[in-house]
């Protein structure tokens, strides 16, 4: 199966964007201020749209399936999303930081995917990149605001860094199927470190050093959180199989 690696890579991108969208969508109606509730829901919608494009393309290559079967009928062990995406929302600061760390990565990655030799992957990356640029801007501004805001907000951001940093190593530790991406992960990581450092500096936040990094999401070994996300996400399709909605 020559396409299997590509399919896995597409599923990895689809799962990551879907799960992060799911987490962000949990905020809808509960944000700290109306304008930001709308902004985060916007990001959830963008990510959901991206995930659908990846699922649809994967389904096309696989044949005999569709976006909903892929999202709703695969198990915890089949999901390939980044561990970072499934981490709980925590407070607004933790949600913001999770978004920034991921978006900064996605931006750099997709900047490379836009020249990929697979036309369709290219097209999806190009469309998504415009959205991602905005996600980076919005989330980095918030990281700065909260890091440099009050004593309380700074403490909360320090806590968020503690919680989330161990999941950033996985971004740059490619699974076998990621050879499809044709990306140099070492230079990607250097660039990511550089940018994150700049934002953290402006936010007066420290960049952690030499912390043990968790991994496994890309190959289906998740934290316990994912099972609950899928129980929620897949509930109707599992309860009423073979129905059209």
């Amino acid at each position: 199966m020559p396409d299997q690696e590509k399919i896995n890579y597409l599923l990895h991108l689809a799962d990551t964007t879907l799960i992060l969208s799911h987490r962000n969508s949990e905020w809808c109606g509960h944000g700290p201020v109306l304008e930001q509730d709308i902004a985060l829901t916007n990001i959830a919608l963008d990510l959901l749209g991206q995930s659908r494009l990846f699922y649809q393309y994967a389904a096309e290559l696989m044949g005999n399936t569709d976006e909903d079967q892929l999202a709703y009928l695969r198990t915890e062990r089949e999901y390939k999303n980044l561990l970072l995406a499934e981490q709980p929302n925590g407070d607004w600061g933790q949600t913001i930081l999770r978004q920034y760390l991921y978006s900064q990565f996605q931006q750099l990655l997709f900047q490379q995917l836009v020249t990929h030799n697979d036309q369709q992957l290219c097209a999806i990356a190009t469309k998504s990149l415009k959205e991602t640029n905005y996600h980076v801007r919005w989330s980095s501004e918030w990281v700065i605001r909260l890091g440099d805001g009050t004593t309380e907000s700074r403490e909360r951001m320090l806590h968020a860094i503690d919680e989330l940093w161990p999941y950033t190593g996985e971004l740059f530790d490619p699974a076998a199927y990621e050879s499809v991406a044709d990306v140099d992960f070492t230079s990607l990581q250097q660039e990511w470190n550089k940018r994150v450092k700049l934002i953290f500096e402006e936010a007066t936040l420290p960049v952690p050093e030499k912390i043990f990094m968790q991994q496994g999401g890309k190959t289906g070994a998740h934290t316990e959180h994912l099972g609950y996300i899928l129980a929620d996400l897949q509930y109707l399709q599992r309860t009423y199989p073979n129905s059209i909605w």
């Binding site: 879907l18 799911h22 969508s25 949990e26 809808c28 109606g29 509960h30 944000g31 700290p32 201020v33 109306l34 304008e35 930001q36 509730d37 709308i38 829901t41 916007n42 959830a44 919608l45 959901l48 749209g49 995930s51 659908r52 699922y55 976006e67 909903d68 999202a71 709703y72 407070d91 607004w92 600061g93 700065i144 605001r145 909260l146 440099d148 805001g149 009050t150 309380e152 907000s153 909360r156 996300i229 929620d232 996400l233 509930y235 109707l236 399709q237 009423y240 073979n242 129905s243 059209i244 909605w245």
Partner: protein, 315 residues
């Protein structure tokens, strides 16, 4: 000029269909009525996000999830426009939100009912947004300019919501026996609360006469409710479902549907805070506001620091 003359001029403007704008003179009661109504409307949009938000993570397909997320986001946008419209009358958004949280300000009782199944999301779009549109189409011509203009924008999106809700029920109505039953059950539960959205009967309604004279309202509660019943009684046939009212019957003489008596005891009970979800809804809003306090404070503190730094750089 004595106040009576101002009042006369004001009424002449209203009668001549000239919109009242924020800087225009207006009777105190007109200002208060508008603040009360517009802020109540804004609160309804925001509290209304909760019952529907309840199904975002569980929507049964990615397409339905995207539609629902976008819809709930629209409602937040409506809340924003309406808070801005109310602010033109001299009350800040913070004050309005405090009144909501203290229980002083009301919001539409419909959102104190729970969304128990996925079909409730379709039923809300079809019946609740549908009932809201009846009211809001009329409000596009309300006499206070900023409110009327906000309503024009909002109405377009609301009719979109209604069509999407209906379409989602249509799919269920053609689905498996379980889906059909889910669809009928949701209609059964949402029908009467939707009828209550139009408020008390005209004979019982206290503020109606003055509001009509000032053209804040242009149709009475009973008129709007009748229009709604006539519309839905036809649409439900397309779904192959029924409305839970044995008295519902076309009246050839009146050219309207007759319908049964609303349970007014339930209506007043929910208004007084005893609906199935009154507590949870207010609690969720208060909690969001409380949990957001440090975020808002940090944003202000950072903005102040930035301004200070710029000042020093300039000096």
């Amino acid at each position: 000029m004595p106040v009576q003359d101002f009042e006369q001029l004001f009424q002449q403007k209203i009668d001549a269909e000239v919109k009242i704008e924020p800087k225009d003179w207006m009777p105190d009661a007109y200002r208060k009525t508008n603040i009360r109504q517009i802020s109540q409307h804004a609160h309804s949009e925001i509290v209304g996000m909760l019952p529907e938000g309840n199904w975002i993570t569980r929507a049964p397909s990615l397409k339905r999830k995207a539609i629902l997320l976008a819809k709930v986001q629209d409602e937040a946008g409506h809340g924003l426009y309406l808070y801005s419209a109310a602010e033109t009358l001299g009350m800040s958004r913070d004050e309005m939100i405090n009144d909501l949280h203290s229980g002083k300000a009301k919001y539409s009782s419909i959102f104190n009912y729970p969304t128990l199944t996925w079909a409730d999301i379709g039923a809300i779009g079809w019946l609740v947004d549908g009932a809201a549109i009846m009211n809001q189409v009329m409000l596009c011509r309300t006499s206070y300019g900023p409110y009327a203009r906000a309503m024009v924008r909002i109405c377009k999106e609301e009719s979109f919501h209604q069509r999407q809700g209906f379409e989602s029920l249509l799919v269920l109505s053609k689905g498996t026996p379980e889906q059909k039953a889910m669809c009928q059950d949701a209609i059964n539960r949402w029908w009467w609360p939707a009828l209550m959205m139009f408020g008390p009967k005209d004979s019982e309604s206290t503020n109606s006469d003055q509001s009509m004279k000032w053209k804040i309202k242009r149709k009475s509660n009973d008129e709007l409710r009748q229009n709604f019943v006539d519309m839905i009684a036809e649409q439900v046939k397309v779904l192959g479902m029924t409305l839970p009212d044995p008295a519902l019957k076309w009246n050839e003489e009146r050219k309207h549907y007759d319908f049964g008596e609303i349970n007014w005891e339930e209506f007043w009970n929910v208004v007084k805070g005893n609906g199935p979800c009154n507590k949870q809804r207010l609690e969720a809003r208060r909690k969001a506001h409380e949990n957001g306090r440090w975020v808002r404070e940090a944003a202000m503190a950072h903005a102040a620091k930035l301004a200070e730094r710029r000042k020093q750089e300039a000096a």
